[in-house]
């Protein structure tokens, strides 16, 4: 082991210890309880494969559930990335749900009129960005209460998308259009999931490689976009000047102002960026199915709010937000698979599991440290 690797490992260990020290008693208890439940569940599943725990374990480790979890993560994770930028800059964007809705409709409608999925996707992103721009003007220029304005963004989109669908398609659901392709569908030289061997003849490791390849080859391009954006936004937030400005604008706007950076402009950029990210999420959601359904809470159905929980739980770290999203989406995938397999558990109850999980997680994690100046209007002193 080289010297540099050793010191890196030391740093990592120190960081982990610091992180654990920072946890409160309740959080530690919560984490411990969660770990115990997980271990007990896995042990029970392995010991008695025929039991409910065994079946759940089987589903949770299946390729289809894993792929479904990735697919369901896309809109939530992308919206969460957007939420991170907005809130880090000091504007709490509770209207992510609305941005997802408007983008989901815009993308399907755009695909329908242009005939191109790429253009439709772009139109969805544009629609969401425009709405985010309206939200930004209202919050930054007119000093609106961010929570109420965000709520208004949600309600406007919740009315506007089904309204538009009713006008254009004569019902709250749109016509069907094409869906986002998978990698082998775009790049003809790649093999499909069926064409590659499952374990390459190597035990354990080969099976694992086969599992990952299968999931990746069957995933739509949206999944790749999401993974790319998670990395990109981590880099943007933590390694660039813009990221520094965004963080300063949320923590100490007057210092940023003193340093000669226009706080309003940074916040505008961050909120618009949240519109772009949420737009990608909404477009990926509706174009994943090829249709927008606008009954009741629409097809978005609370994903924007779960995204908020995901980034709070991930402590404003894009990677952390993605991991917690994957957890919620995994639960959702689990219940979808349970429904199709018919395990005797009523699906109306299983459906609420992700929501209950969010509440339990929030109760255990409690107050996450939100940026110092989030929710507050910043007034530059200069005239």
């Amino acid at each position: 082991m080289s010297e540099s690797t050793r010191s890196a490992l030391d740093r990592a260990r120190d960081g982990l210890i610091e992180r654990l020290d920072g946890l409160s008693g309740r959080q530690t208890a919560g984490l411990a309880a969660g770990a115990v439940v997980l271990v007990a569940f896995v042990a029970a599943g392995l010991a008695r494969p025929a039991s409910l725990a065994g079946e759940l374990l089987d589903i949770a480790t299946s390729e289809s559930a894993f792929g479904a979890a990735l697919r369901l993560s896309v809109p939530i994770a992308l919206a969460a990335l957007g939420g991170i930028f907005a809130e880090k800059s000091g504007v709490i964007n509770i209207g992510l749900e609305g941005l997802l809705i408007i983008a989901a409709f815009g993308a399907v409608w755009g695909t329908d009129i242009t005939g191109s999925i790429l253009l439709g996707f772009a139109l969805g992103v544009i629609a969401s960005t425009l709405l985010a721009g309206l939200f930004a003007v209202v919050c930054i220029e007119f000093r609106a209460d961010q929570i109420i304005a965000g709520l208004a963004v949600w309600l406007i989109a919740l009315g506007l998308a089904p309204f538009a669908s009713q006008v254009v398609y004569g019902g709250p659901n749109t016509d069907s259009v094409g869906t986002v392709p998978t990698l082998p569908e775009v790049l003809w030289f790649l093999p499909t999931a069926e064409q590659i061997p499952t374990s390459f003849g190597v035990p354990v490791v080969g099976g694992l490689v086969g599992f990952v390849l299968d999931v990746l080859l069957e995933a739509s391009l949206s999944v790749y976009l999401m993974l790319l954006m998670v990395v990109a936004s981590w880099y943007l937030l933590n390694r660039t000047a813009f990221g520094r400005w965004v963080r300063a604008s949320g923590e100490n706007p007057s210092a940023l102002d003193t340093a000669g950076v226009n706080v309003s402009r940074v916040r505008y950029a961050a909120v618009l960026l949240s519109g772009v990210f949420a737009g990608m999420g909404g477009a990926a959601l509706s174009l994943g199915l090829g249709q927008f359904t606008g009954n009741g809470p629409t097809m978005v159905n609370g994903k924007g709010f779960i995204a908020i929980v995901a980034y709070l739980f991930g402590n404003y770290n894009p990677v952390g937000a993605f991991l917690s999203t994957f957890l919620f989406a995994g639960l959702d995938a689990l219940q979808l698979t349970l429904q199709t397999r018919g395990t005797g558990i009523p699906d109306s109850l299983v459906r609420i599991v992700p929501f209950v999980t969010v509440i339990v997680v929030l109760a255990l994690v409690g107050r996450t440290r939100i940026p110092e100046a989030a929710g507050e209007h910043y007034e530059s002193g200069e005239e």
């Binding site: 209460d145 919740l158 089904p162 908020i308």
Partner: protein, 496 residues
């Protein structure tokens, strides 16, 4: 705004904070502390032993309160007008997007002196007709065709009402029915808001309250004789159960906020989904009406419905329920403004830290106000079951979310909730008339709802509009205007 208004806005910061409340509260605390009984409960209302300067300050604050109430009303009105303006654009745009045989509305210009027609554009939807249907259709068409406020001066008839118009018509019943439920859900949101809690979970509390009411009345009905006595017993039982179930369900996010610091906006939204899921599960698996296709319970007996007064039973509206709503409006107003509990609630909402230093048990206040909020929502659900539906059915309309709109439009004032509820009751009732008469999708009302909230959230926009200066005006002009309008707008209020 008065001179004090500028100061209040400076100190209070955002528009949500009612400057009167803050100052009022802290001055009360000071007098209580000075008179040497810090352990006593809060002393609300005008206290007799206050020094003359206190009185003067209080009078000034009263003036300010009425000024801010007027401003509040103007703001709500302006938001409504602006929403209708944006809605008009939306209706026109939708009219361009659809295809029709003949244009319902043509936008053009007058052509005097034989000028050529340069511009003419047809639309499938006529916005005037849409908003006419939305507002007057909801009241059952009270006015004569073509009647306007100037008609009598042009030799028209003096009496505006259409021949054969009855105030108590079926469409009016729909309007009042929606108004009644919105009074309850609006009050529910307003109570929580005043305590500084954003209760988005009124929908879930209303759903479970409705379910509790339906099930308890169904359970008790066999033991109760039919007739008036049975009605009294069953309706009272239903309302009580609705209030208790809604209150308990509302107390959950309250306790999570108070003791686990979980953000109530998120938890209440999640609990809405949970409530809908649980209600569906219970009804679908245990209490389902076997003779029905829908997921619903068996209907409650006729004598368990709130008895209709003046209206026909098939109109599904009762003045008794509306009267209960009005009584609760007054009751909640009294509770918030005149009792020590209400005082605790208001101070925790405005200045949580100050309230805690003043001896308010912050955690308990949060839980109690959320329970009260949930109970009001639960009563709304009970009325929905016992007045409108006569059974519990899954897929309860979004009264809880409309309650947020009602409360925000009313400035979280219980007395304002009554008016705001009637406005939204009219809009909801009118949306069906609009759809029937003009083919404009009823979701238009949903968009209007969002727009109204958006505009109410930005009073600064209307202030700028009122000053006649756009947000991008150069600072010099603005400074002059600010000076011209007195000490209202100090340099700190203008931006950039």
């Amino acid at each position: 705004m008065s001179e004090g208004g500028g100061d209040g806005a400076e100190g209070g910061g955002e528009d949500r904070a009612d400057p009167n409340g803050i100052a009022d509260g802290s001055s009360d605390r000071e007098t209580a502390g000075a008179s040497g009984d810090p352990g006593e409960g809060p002393v609300p209302g005008p206290s007799g032993d206050a020094a003359p300067p206190m009185d003067r300050a209080r009078r000034a604050l009263d003036r300010l309160a009425s000024a801010s109430a007027t401003e509040r009303f103007l703001l709500s009105f302006a938001a409504l007008v602006l929403s209708i303006a944006v809605g008009t654009v939306l209706v026109l745009a939708a009219g361009r997007a659809t295809t029709c045989e003949t244009a319902a509305f043509v936008l053009t210009h007058p052509t005097p002196f034989g000028l050529p027609r340069l511009f003419s554009m047809g639309f499938c939807f006529d916005p005037v007709a849409v908003f006419d249907r939305l507002f007057f259709g909801a009241l059952g068409d009270p006015f004569k065709r073509g009647w306007g406020p100037l008609s009598p001066f042009r030799g028209g008839p003096l009496n505006p009402f259409r021949e054969g118009y009855e105030l108590l018509n079926p469409q009016m019943a729909v309007t009042l029915r929606e108004t009644t439920i919105l009074v309850f859900s609006g009050l529910a949101v307003a109570v929580a808001f005043r305590a500084g809690i954003f209760n988005i979970g009124t929908q879930g509390q209303l759903v479970l309250g409705a379910l509790g009411t339906g099930l308890s009345v169904l359970w008790a009905a066999p033991f109760v004789p039919a007739g008036m006595a049975g009605t009294v017993v069953l309706v009272t039982l239903g309302l009580l159960v609705g209030a208790v179930v809604g209150g308990l369900y509302g107390a959950i996010p309250g306790a999570l906020k108070a003791y686990a610091e979980a953000n109530e906006v998120i938890t209440t939204i999640m609990l809405n989904f949970v409530a809908t899921g649980v209600a569906f599960f219970l009804v679908a698996n245990y209490f389902r009406n076997p003779d029905s296709q829908a997921v619903e319970t068996t209907p409650v007996p006729d004598y368990a419905n709130v008895p209709p007064l003046l209206f026909e039973p098939r109109d599904d509206f009762s003045f008794i329920a509306l009267g209960l709503g009005a009584a609760l409006v007054v009751g909640v107003y009294y509770l918030l403004e005149q009792t020590s509990f209400g005082y605790d609630v208001r101070t925790s909402g405005l200045q949580p830290d100050a309230a805690e230093y003043g001896g308010v048990n912050a955690e308990r206040t949060v839980v109690y106000s959320m329970a009260l909020s949930g109970a009001l929502g639960g009563i709304g659900g009970a009325i929905y079951v016992l007045m409108i539906l006569g059974k519990f059915q899954t897929g309860v309309p979004a009264y809880g979310f409309d309650g947020i709109t009602v409360s925000i439009l009313a400035g979280n004032n219980p007395l304002g909730v009554g008016f705001a509820a009637f406005l939204f009751g009219t809009l909801k009732s009118g949306s069906t008339v609009v759809q029937f008469a003009t083919d404009v999708p009823p979701q238009l009302v949903g968009v209007l709802r969002g727009l109204i909230i958006l505009f109410v959230a930005m009073p600064e926009f209307f202030r700028m509009l009122a000053r006649g200066i756009g947000p991008t005006a150069d600072p010099e002009r603005r400074a002059v205007a600010a000076d011209g309008s007195g000490a209202v707008d100090t340099g700190g209020e203008t931006d950039e």
